[in-house]
Symmetry: C2
Subunit: 424 residues, 2 copies
């Protein structure tokens, strides 16, 4: 067993932080054995003790929704409205990933930058292309970072270069599944119909069948903006709501499912999400940049719907999940300013959402309770801690005003993760 | 004359960027002489050419509302509501500035961090204390950075340690004015009644008289949140609105005036601001963190009211004015999502607000037009510019995803500003 010594902070429950000042976490076979204030508590079996001094030790970050092939478009042309932005920037960019050399250059930077910001597990959209999707998975594996990577399925309403026939799309999925579907793997496939408007019923049905055949997780977009919701109502008139449309194709909780945005999810749809245990990937910056609105995060928590945070590059402009916590709190303050019956998100709640709640999509990830995989960040906040702040205030300052410079060491599944190589 | 060569970007008008690719700016006696694509255009009078290669050169940032003595409280206890936060954190912290050693330690860090984020001009609240306010002004002067610093006047509704009798408060103001009221000074006093609820009518009257006697600018808070607005209505029943209350004491445009927040400014109050040429210091992060709401920034622009951006530490959590631009744009998207008759803030508008519009409060500051003081930042964005982005996209990426690491050189009034010393 290996011991790591630092100021340990995590959330078992969303209501409060667990803190062990100058404490030890014992790690064996990639998993947490336990926590203690004293090294002796771990008995004879200790091989090594790594002392991180006065640093903080927190669970690593999870990014629950991000478009890897939109990496190049991060933070450009944010003034455009959704439709011209998709046509002029998003779709043409994704079409470039037919070229694996281009994909390697961009994807290696993308994985590197996730690392920079301490994101050790990612649920990502790739593109429709088999080879570059494989490459992205390989880059995650080489980095030692966890990921669910979705080869995107779509066959309508985009551009020809991104439309793939159902049989060809499924053949590509099968190829990836054959190679990557290891239950213990850090990097896994996830079934990824882009969203209802870009998939014919035949495509959606095939995706649902594939997910159930291989018991694979599913990701997509749900109720992001008002005109999209109206469009889906036209496309799927028999469905009671947008979520129900996915449900009818076996894509809404029949296997573990995560849906990005859910800004307009309420009523029947919220009830169905709760029943089906569908997770929300809350993407506050993206929802602001695209003028979508604010997701009702307290309603999700009150209903028992699991939530995680997503950077949603390049709708979102920021890859830092710490920053997503800040935005999630700020947006909830604005939202619940108009509905005082509910309380805004607290710091411990936002932290719990980003770590333990999101992490549950990957198994036992996101906490330091015994049995959890040891995904962790060592935070050296010495320049922020110039005046004897409490440990919780130090964490809060790191989240609200820190950046990647404060992340000194990163662990995923018990291994220290070195800086991934950028391939230019 | 000295020439600086780089990719020059600034806003003459809010609707668009002016761009001179690999251009030259000529600077003499601290002011811009002109811009050209060719060094020959400046004639014989050139002493020196500094080549910043492929870097961007943009006007420096202006922070139009920030509480210097709340520096220690930046990014802590953001979950608290306004009143307990003031009582437990803000007021006790400000009371510490009776101790000039404490003030020196914190203020030197504050000035240092403004420098880090490229803020070369600041409109700051200090505290009620004469000596530590002098010290803050001295630190700005030593750094070579521009500032209007307000010794705060307040005599009710806070804590005893922060209440000062009107005659004593005015004596302290007179002492600062005697020492610092140089029309050409980079660092100047600004009359600073905290806000109506913390100033008796006698204090407000004395502040207004002082401002007019010495023709000094005025700063305060206006219409930040709904309960504050209601409170002011009770305190000043004869006034038609919150702005009118200041106006009746000679504190609303009789001399150059800047008011922070203005979230609830509309109708009569907006009309009065327009007529009196009162500037708004828009503080979007603070308004989110404190649950105040969103200021109607398009209404200000349409009415011809000048706007600048403020970090409002420690209601705000972030000292970066680049980040304030991003929040201002994002908040405007949310706001005007509900009122499609008006358009959200564009990138060039946010940039213009932060530079030329805000800078006008200091004179000819915030642009590279001839005669403007040369306040500038050299942006080395080479790590962000990995794929031949356009100059405007490079600027956008710096604003949306860059940080202080990308600011290579800072100028204020024509002088390169070295890193200020932190005094511990």
């Amino acid at each position: 067993m290996k011991l790591y010594k630092a100021n340990i902070i995590f959330t078992r429950e969303k209501e409060q932080f667990e803190v062990v000042e100058h404490g030890y976490v014992g790690v064996e076979n990639g998993r947490v054995v336990g926590l203690a204030s004293n090294a002796d508590a771990f008995g004879e079996d200790v091989e090594d003790v790594v002392d991180y001094g006065d640093c903080l030790l927190i669970p690593a970050m999870n990014d629950m929704h991000v478009h890897a092939p939109q990496y190049r478009n991060q933070a450009i042309s944010m003034d455009l409205e959704l439709l011209p932005w998709l046509k002029q920037y998003t779709f043409p960019e994704e079409a470039k990933y037919k070229d694996t050399h281009y994909a390697e250059r961009m994807y290696s930077r993308f994985v590197h930058d996730l690392w920079r910001f301490g994101t050790m597990r990612t649920v990502a959209f790739a593109t429709i292309h088999l080879e570059s999707t494989r490459l992205l998975m390989e880059l995650f594996r080489e980095a030692g970072m966890g990921a669910m990577v979705g080869k995107v399925d779509m066959d309508r309403n985009a551009i020809d270069a991104l439309h793939v026939r159902v049989d060809e799309a499924m053949a590509r999925n099968e190829a990836i599944i054959a190679e990557w579907n290891d239950p213990d793997g850090l990097v896994k496939p996830i079934i990824t119909p882009r969203f209802i408007p870009s998939c014919t019923p035949a495509m959606l049905r095939a995706c649902g069948e594939l997910a159930q055949r291989y018991q694979l997780p599913v990701q997509s977009h749900l109720s992001e903006n008002a005109s999209e919701v109206a469009w889906v109502r036209e496309l799927e008139p028999e469905s009671r709501n947008y979520g129900d449309a996915y449900d009818r194709y076996g894509l809404f909780g029949q296997t573990p499912t995560i849906m990005a945005h859910c800004v307009f999810t309420a009523g029947d749809e919220l009830e169905l999400m709760t029943r089906r245990n569908v997770m929300v990937a809350h993407c506050p910056t993206s929802n602001l940049n695209l003028g979508s609105g604010i997701a009702p995060i307290r309603s999700f928590l009150n209903s028992g719907v699991k939530v995680g945070l997503g950077s949603d590059i390049s709708g979102g402009n920021d890859l830092s999940i710490m920053r997503m916590m800040v935005y999630a709190i700020q947006m909830s303050k604005l939202y619940y300013n108009h509905d005082k019956s509910k309380h805004f998100l607290t710091l411990s709640e936002a932290f719990w959402i980003a770590t333990k709640s999101a992490g549950s999509f990957f198994g036992k990830v996101g906490s330091f309770e015994p049995g959890y995989e040891f995904d962790a960040l060592v935070i050296d906040d010495s320049d922020l801690n110039h005046d004897n702040y409490s440990l919780i205030h130090r964490l809060e300052r790191f989240i609200y005003m820190g950046d990647d410079r404060h992340i000194a060491v990163r662990f995923c599944r018990g291994c220290e993760i070195p800086e991934p190589r950028i391939r230019d």
